[in-house]
Symmetry: C2
Subunit: 361 residues, 2 copies
């Protein structure tokens, strides 16, 4: 047995050097004579580890000083519920642009806290493109404008930022976080569950313009008021220390590899190889997404005959290509090719797909 190329959508593949370091220091971490899992989050060693993760993230993303960086629990779904409480007053409107499943979920989780307004939705078109800005219906006086930068299930990604400057732009970047350079100044808030591009499940990063916090005027449980997390460096209660530590190692690895620009080039190359394999298959494989909105991270595709799906999955597994089964909502296949997936993995998948098409075409 050996490690496979893992195309899972999240939790997802992690850099092997990170896993090797975690394994090496699992019982004794940094002279603490204990595992990183066993030390106090308020001890010097863990505080330094947490601060370094934040500093590395700020450097990688270019986060300005007037933005807070939070490491939160609960996943992006919890954060999508809490952002409505933290960024809007009771009864205020918030705008949502829907390009897939996760945008819908963010909307549902905000409804108890704000009046939601759907700016545009591609639901009737089965989420295969980004709705044209000319057809958006904007709301007056909204607290923020929310969209999903990359839809993990539908494979729809914004290649540029929505042209929204009148209200704070809030974006779920869970599945394309740090996958390409982003101008943080254009945002009120960016958030991302770690388990796709930057770490294990159990921690969610939020980058928030500080002046947006504290305006909500609500009586919130203190644990849900992000001002408390800002004041306490994300340690208002015991944080998920191990996921935070591993995320820090991934961020260090990204710096070692050359930073976000390097990953953006690699990701473009990987995506181009996979889409060209699909488009060049004479219809054997199909991706339904408008080419302008195709995701560089999650590539859903179908086989021309779904009776071949089981064979495809069995043969890819045997070939060491794992996690290719599509989301149950769409069926077919999905290859997730996040930062930690090497070009060699995508090359192996593309080679397999061409060979499979010849044998079963």
């Amino acid at each position: 047995m050996s490690r496979a190329f893992n195309f899972s959508a999240g939790p997802a593949t992690l850099p092997e050097p990170v896993l090797l370091q975690v394994q090496r220091e699992l019982l004794e971490w940094q002279g603490e004579r204990a595992s990183v899992m066993e030390v106090s989050h308020r001890g010097k060693a863990f505080i330094a580890c947490a601060a370094k993760a934040e500093a590395d993230l700020r450097e990688l993303m270019g986060v300005p000083d007037d933005y807070a960086v939070l490491f939160l629990q609960g996943g992006a779904t919890t954060v999508s519920a809490l952002l409505a409480m933290n960024l809007a007053r009771a009864g205020q409107t918030a705008e949502y642009l829907l390009t897939g499943h996760w945008g819908e979920k963010a909307l549902e989780n905000a409804k108890a806290s704000v009046r939601t307004h759907v700016v545009a939705s591609d639901a009737d078109n089965a989420y295969r493109r980004i709705p044209d800005a000319a057809a958006w219906t904007r709301a007056a006086d909204s607290a923020y404008f929310h969209y999903t930068s990359n839809e993990t299930i539908h494979g729809v990604e914004f290649s540029s930022l929505p042209d929204v400057t009148d209200v704070p732009l809030v974006a779920d970047f869970s599945s394309n976080f740090l996958a390409r350079p982003v101008d943080v100044r254009r945002f009120g808030m960016i958030y991302a569950g770690a388990q796709k591009n930057i770490g294990p499940a159990g921690i969610t990063v939020a980058v928030i313009r500080k002046d947006l916090l504290g305006r909500h005027g609500r009586e919130l449980p203190p644990i849900f008021d992000w001002q408390n997390q800002v004041k306490n460096d994300s340690m208002f209660n015991t944080p998920p220390t191990f996921p935070w530590y591993v995320t820090g190692l991934v961020l260090q690895w990204m710096r070692d590899e050359g930073g976000v620009e390097v990953f953006a080039r690699r990701n473009a190359e990987k995506a181009a190889l996979l889409y060209s394999t699909i488009d060049g298959s004479g219809g054997f494989y199909r991706n339904p997404v408008d080419p302008a909105a195709r995701s560089t991270m999650n590539v859903p595709f179908t086989l021309h005959d779904e009776a071949l799906d089981k064979t495809f999955l069995a043969e890819t597994e045997a070939a060491g290509l794992m996690g290719l089964k599509g989301h149950r909502a769409l069926g077919g296949m999905r290859a997730s090719i996040y930062n930690a997936m090497p070009l060699a993995g995508v090359q192996a998948l593309a080679d397999f797909m061409r060979d499979f098409a010849v044998r079963h075409g």
Copy 2:
């Protein structure tokens, strides 16, 4: 270097056999050709791992079938906020019995969702005893009665259950979970952050009588409505898979060691040794808690001269006895002696303390 005896209050010491297994299978888990951190929570292997953790917990605790077992994110503090939303209707009263810091925090986090009523509080006495039930003031028609089974900071523990049978009893067992047998049927809900007795930080276990869910009548974000977590086996969104997996290994270890009764005996023996060392020191060491309410898990103590604190901490560290600095709210020392702390660790601490008292007395 080698591993020390770690008396941290949480995150806390874990069983070494568990850490060795995590280390061994860190890169390739159960034939998945990937780390447990990298596999889908919806894959067969992780679902089996999660189900086994629940089954082992049910067996260890004796959880009846009409109780749900949830593995949640956000820590016990988040759960203390959510339980008020899930177990009470808007405007309904909930009762809180305060025996320390964490009871106060649970109360604060409930206030936005329920009318809170303090049944009794030992705050004026600096939290050194359990308020006598004869002096409690009960509220009419309350949704539940909340207390903290063991106060981690103040070292105050209930040695028996509060005599409350008219409304659902809800208890924070974070720091004495599975430390002794408990009759689950006496409770509406039990919850516990994993990072003291059963795992790493980042996951919180809740055991809830199912019929209590779904009565709240509130418009909650779906992610905060525990009915959704019950329906989805705690996977309404991506769960913290690695903390869940490690918790499962600790539960298996507890079964291998003989179950909760075995730990209850060991915990009683460890606590007796430490308190007798303190009480037998002729006033060199002092624990301020009413003997009837002394915690078997967290033993705060002071030195007769606080000028010796630094020396005590430096010498214990040098002797491989870590994490003894007391909580900043109380000062002094605190020894946390959870399930995974062996008797040998407490013996080493007691021996050190007697020797230190002789040298500095």
